[in-house]
C-alpha cells in the first residue's frame, strides 16, 4: 500500500504537501487554544482567531483533497470491484475516474465563476476580522485601485476553491493515467485505517520471524 514517489521531484512535492497539512492543522489548534488562554488569562478575545481558523480549515480540506487522491486515501465501496475479474475491474475503474473528472471539472468551473467576481468587481470586499499584513499591501494597488485594505480581502481565502479544484482535476487525470497503464486497479481505500492495519500485520510478521 505504500506509494513511494519514484522521482526526486515527487519526493520534494510530497514533503511540501505533507508539511503544509501538518502545519495547517497545527496552526488551527494553536490559534484556537491561544484564544481560550487569552480569554481566561488576559480577559480578551483574539478577534481574528475564529475566522482565521475557519479559513485554515477550508484550505486544509480543499487543497488536501488532491493529496488524498494521489495517495488513494478517499474511501469508497470496493465489494463489487473485489468481486469481478481484472478485465471488468479495469473498465469500472476507468468509469469511476471519468465520474471523478466530471465532478472536479464541474466544480472547477463553479469555483472559478464564484471566485472571479471577488478579485474583480468585488475586490474591495474584506473579511470580517483578519488584519491585512502590510507586506501584502501591493495587492491593493493591483486589484483595488490603490485603496488600502484594512482587513484581508476575501479573494484570498476563497482562492482555495479554484486552486484546490484545479489540483484535484490534475490528480484525477494522473490517477486515470495510472489505471489505463495498469499501475493501479482502483482509486479508493476501503476504510480509514488501512495503513494502521498494514503496520499491525507487519509487526505480527516480525514476531513470527523472531520465533
Amino acid at each position: 500500500m505504500h506509494h513511494e514517489p519514484t522521482s526526486r521531484l515527487g519526493q520534494v512535492i510530497d514533503d511540501i504537501e505533507e508539511t503544509s497539512i501538518a502545519l495547517c492543522l497545527g496552526l488551527m489548534t494553536l490559534i484556537t487554544f491561544a484564544n481560550v488562554v487569552a480569554r481566561y488569562v488576559m480577559n480578551s478575545n483574539i478577534l481574528w482567531a475564529l475566522e482565521l481558523t475557519v479559513f485554515l480549515f477550508a484550505w486544509l480540506v480543499l487543497m488536501g483533497a488532491s493529496y488524498a487522491v494521489k495517495k488513494h486515501i478517499h474511501i469508497g465501496v470496493d465489494v463489487v470491484l473485489n468481486a469481478v475479474s481484472p478485465g471488468p475491474r479495469k473498465i469500472l475503474a476507468i468509469l469511476s475516474v471519468a465520474a471523478c473528472l466530471a465532478f472536479s471539472i464541474l466544480l472547477l468551473i463553479g469555483s472559478w465563476n464564484y471566485w472571479y467576481p471577488f478579485i474583480t468587481e468585488r475586490a474591495w470586499l474584506e473579511t470580517e476580522d483578519i488584519p491585512m499584513p502590510g507586506m501584502f499591501m501591493f495587492l491593493a494597488d493591483w486589484f483595488n485601485e490603490g485603496e488600502r485594505y484594512e482587513k484581508v480581502p476575501r479573494f484570498i481565502p476563497y482562492l482555495a476553491l479554484p486552486l484546490g479544484m484545479a489540483l484535484l482535476t490534475f490528480r484525477f487525470l494522473q490517477v486515470g493515467w495510472q489505471i489505463i497503464t495498469g499501475k493501479l486497479d482502483k482509486i479508493i481505500a476501503s476504510h480509514e485505517v488501512e495503513e494502521e492495519i498494514e503496520q499491525v500485520r507487519a509487526q505480527a510478521e516480525d514476531k513470527r520471524e523472531d520465533l
Binding site: 492543522l25 475557519v54 488524498a68 465532478f103 464541474l106 485505517v193 500485520r201
Partner: protein
C-alpha cells in the same frame, strides 16, 4: 420520483468504485443542473460554506488530533492493564476487560475503527494466548469497538449536531448512559457465556495493582474529564474543548508518558533539557501525528462537505417536507416512524461512512420527528446506535474490515464471529429506540429541559 433517481445515482456511483465524497457531490450537481437553474458557482459556495458556516464541524479535526496523540504507543496498553486489573479475575475476564478497555478508549477517541485497531491489536493476541478461540476474541472486539462513536467524545455526534443544530454538549451527555449500558450488556453476555463454556479467568492481582494501573492510566482518562467538564462547566465551547484536549494530549504524550517526541529516548538532562522540551514543536513525531490527523480530517471532511451539497439540494427541492407530508398522511405514528428510521439507517449504514450518511438522513427525518413529538437528542442517539450496528453488518461494515485486518482473519469468518454479539446490539437498539429516557435523562438533569424551537 426524482428523489429516487438521485439516490440511485449516489448508490450506483459508489458501487462502481467512485469515492463516496465524489458520488455525493457529483450526483447533487447533476440533479441540480437537470431540475433547477441553480448555478455551479452556488455549488462551489455551498462547498466552501461547509467550513465557513459550520463552526461545530471545526471540533472534528481537533478530536481526531487528540485521539492520534493519545494513540501513540502506550495509552492503549495502560488502559488495558487497568481493565484487566479490575475485571480480569471473573470467568471470561480477559474478554470482559477488552470490552471495558474499548469503552475507556472510546472516551479518548471519537472513532470506532480507531478503537478496534488500538485495543484489538493488543488484546486479540492476548486472548488467544490464554486459550480463547480467535473467533470469540475477534467477535467481542468487533462489537465493543463500535462503542467508539457512542461514548463521548464522538465525531458522529458532532456531525449530527451540525446537521440539525442541536447542542453538541447535550448529545455527548446523552451518549454516556447508553454507552455504559451497551458495554455492560456485552460484558454480562460474555460472563454468562464464559460460565457456561468454563472460559479461563485471570488471577486476582489485588487492590494495589488496581490503584497503580489506575494512576498510570489516569493521565489519559483525564482527557474526557477536561472535555465534558469544560463543556458543561461553561468554560469553553465544544470546539474549544476539542482544541484544549488536543493540546493536553500532546503534552501528556510528550512529557508524562514519553511515548513520542524528544523524551522517548532517555538521554542527558541538565541545561539541554529546556531545549529538548522546546523541540517538541518541530520534532518529527509531532509533525507525523499532525500529518496523520490532517489526512484523516481531509478524507472525512471532504465527504461531509459533499454530503452538505446533497443536503442543500434536498432542502432546496423541499424533499424533507414532501416526505413528512407523505409519512403523516399515511398515518404513521411515532413508533412506526422510528421503525422506518431504524430500517433506513441499517440499510444505509451498510454502504456508507457513518458521518456522510448522518448528514444526509438527519435533515430528512428530523422535521418529521419534531412533528411527531420525538425528542431531537433521543433521535440522535437512535441514529448513532444504528450506525454502530451498520458497522458490524455485511457487506460494508467498517468494523468488520478493520477487525479482519487486525486479527488476520477472512471477512467471512469475522462476520460469523460477530453475529452472536450482534443480537445483543439489536436488543440494545430496541431498548434505546423505545425507552427515550435512557438517552434524555442525563442531559435534562445536567442542563435542564430542552427548548425545541423547530
Amino acid at each position: 420520483m426524482d428523489i429516487v433517481l438521485l439516490f440511485a445515482m449516489v448508490v450506483g456511483l459508489m458501487l462502481i468504485g467512485v469515492p463516496i465524497a465524489v458520488s455525493l457531490g457529483l450526483s447533487s450537481m447533476i440533479f441540480l443542473m437537470m431540475l433547477s437553474d441553480a448555478s455551479l458557482a452556488s455549488v462551489a459556495q455551498t462547498l466552501f460554506s461547509a467550513f465557513q458556516g459550520h463552526y461545530t464541524l471545526l471540533a472534528i479535526p481537533f478530536f481526531i488530533l487528540a485521539s492520534v496523540f493519545m494513540s501513540t504507543g502506550g495509552v492503549a496498553h495502560r488502559i488495558i492493564r487497568f481493565a484487566i486489573a479490575v475485571v480480569g479475575s471473573f470467568r471470561g475476564g480477559l474478554a470482559m476487560a477488552s470490552v471495558f478497555a474499548c469503552m475507556m478508549f472510546a472516551a479518548l477517541s471519537g472513532s470506532s475503527p480507531a478503537t478496534v485497531v488500538a485495543i484489538g491489536s493488543i488484546v486479540i493476541a492476548g486472548m488467544v494466548k490464554v486459550g480463547y478461540t480467535k473467533e470469540f476474541a475477534a467477535g467481542v472486539i468487533c462489537n465493543a469497538g463500535t462503542l467508539g462513536i457512542l461514548i463521548p467524545p464522538s465525531i458522529v455526534m458532532v456531525v449530527y449536531a451540525a446537521a440539525t443544530d442541536v447542542s453538541v454538549g447535550r448529545m455527548f451527555l446523552a451518549g454516556v448512559i447508553p454507552g455504559l449500558m451497551a458495554g455492560g450488556l456485552l460484558m454480562l453476555a460474555i460472563y454468562a457465556f464464559a460460565v457456561y463454556k468454563k472460559l479461563p479467568a485471570q488471577p486476582w492481582a489485588g487492590w494495589s495493582e488496581i490503584f497503580e494501573a489506575a494512576r498510570d492510566a489516569s493521565w489519559g482518562l483525564l482527557l474526557i474529564v477536561i472535555i465534558l467538564g469544560g463543556i458543561y462547566g461553561g468554560i469553553f465551547t465544544p470546539t474549544e474543548a476539542a482544541a484544549v484536549a488536543a493540546i493536553y494530549a500532546f503534552l501528556i504524550a510528550n512529557f508524562i508518558y514519553c511515548d513520542m517526541g524528544p523524551f522517548k529516548e532517555k538521554g542527558a538532562g541538565g541545561a539541554m533539557i529546556l531545549w529538548r522540551g522546546l523541540s517538541i514543536f518541530w520534532h518529527k513525531d509531532t509533525k507525523k501525528s499532525l500529518f496523520e490527523a490532517g489526512k484523516l480530517t481531509i478524507m472525512l471532511l471532504f465527504i461531509i462537505a459533499n454530503a452538505l451539497i446533497l443536503k442543500h439540494v434536498l432542502t432546496e427541492e423541499r424533499i424533507p417536507q414532501m416526505i413528512t407530508e407523505a409519512m403523516l398522511s399515511a398515518g404513521f405514528g411515532p413508533i412506526m416512524f422510528l421503525v422506518v428510521v431504524n430500517i433506513l439507517l441499517l440499510i444505509g449504514g451498510q454502504f456508507m461512512e457513518p458521518s456522510g450518511l448522518l448528514i444526509i438522513v438527519a435533515p430528512l427525518v428530523f422535521p418529521i420527528a419534531i412533528t411527531l413529538g420525538i425528542d431531537p437528542i433521543h433521535l440522535g442517539i437512535i441514529m448513532v446506535v444504528n450506525m454502530e450496528i451498520g458497522m458490524i453488518t455485511p457487506p460494508v461494515g467498517l468494523n468488520l474490515f478493520v477487525t479482519a485486518g487486525v486479527a488476520g482473519m477472512s471477512m467471512l469468518n469475522v462476520v460469523r464471529a460477530a453475529a452472536p454479539w450482534l443480537a445483543i446490539m439489536f436488543l440494545f437498539l430496541i431498548i434505546v429506540t423505545y425507552v427515550p429516557i435512557v438517552s434524555t435523562w442525563l442531559p435534562t438533569l445536567m442542563m435542564g429541559p430542552e427548548i425545541i424551537t423547530k
